[in-house]
Symmetry: C2
Subunit: 158 residues, 2 copies
DNA sequence: GTTGAAAAGTGCTGCGA
DNA sequence: TCGCAGCACTTTTCAAC
């Protein structure tokens, strides 16, 4: 097996600054970032490639406004499992429920914590009754409907 | 005031298909989308501009892996307020807490529901004690630490 | 509203320091 | 390892359908 190509796998201050700019606006041109940070465009490119290889960058995604697309109800679900060992099987079932956008295995009162986006309250009730509470192992759920999303942002690297 | 420029402000099937592709990978070139949907590149551009003006598209953001940047602890907080009327004042204070990435005004047991990302459990405790529980109007909080994020995706438009 | 091509700008790949 | 310059590609614009 050949020796792995030596390369710097640490994240330095320049990397952090690049990420910080792109996390606010992923469409910022490399040339503009380069100008701001007083380095060449090629350097930005090399750093981005390194960060991608390291797995720091998972990709870029388009942020849409769900309400404008007819998704008016965002809710959080606390899910109780009969036994913790049923987690993996339950998650596999829940992955097929498209309305679930986020799902965590958590400490505290609930076993599973999920975020769900639906068209309206009827749609929410339908998903809860027909697709979630029917999953084997799921005992009961508690629903928290979001009336207002006041903060939505990325982690700050500063 | 001049007459507003007439333009189609409805979202049709083509718009949905464009959004669907870009929500999976925001870096897909317009030319490739155009080829897939059998329209010209110019059309994709016009539609995207319309969707931006309509506020359907909020922007594009880089997805990073928080763990690789030293953020190992994700948690959800259920926050109890003394009075619901203190919501706005409390949110203003909480906006200054950088570790909070998402905050909702919810129905159910809690008044406020927040998602928080920290370096480690000590950092989490510090933020809770010093920056959150000290906010006027906040009575107490319940913490759910995420041990595993099993689902993280966007809403499906299909 | 859509098309197709031209113009402007960006991303990528060597070579040199 | 970084910076510069040329090439390939994408985005953007615009006249015409």
């Amino acid at each position: 097996m050949p020796h792995r190509k030596a390369q710097n796998l640490e994240i330095d201050n320049l990397d952090i600054q690049i990420l910080s700019i792109l996390m606010k606006n992923a469409t910022t041109p490399y040339t503009e970032i380069a100008k701001d940070l007083i380095v060449s465009g090629g350097t930005i490119h090399v750093r981005m490639k390194k960060l991608e290889e390291m797995g720091v960058i998972k990709g870029a995604s388009l942020e849409v406004n769900p309400q404008k697309l007819g998704f008016d109800v965002t809710a959080f679900l606390g899910i109780f499992l009969e036994k913790g060992s049923q987690y993996n099987a339950a998650v596999e079932k829940l992955k097929t429920v498209n309305e679930i956008v986020e799902l965590h295995y958590t400490t505290g009162s609930y076993s599973i914590f999920a975020k769900i986006v639906c068209h309206d309250t009827n749609h929410l009730r339908e998903v809860l009754n027909e697709h979630i509470q029917s999953v084997p192992g799921i005992q009961r759920t508690e629903t928290f409907i979001s009336l207002e999303e006041s903060i939505k942002r990325q982690i700050s690297l500063d």
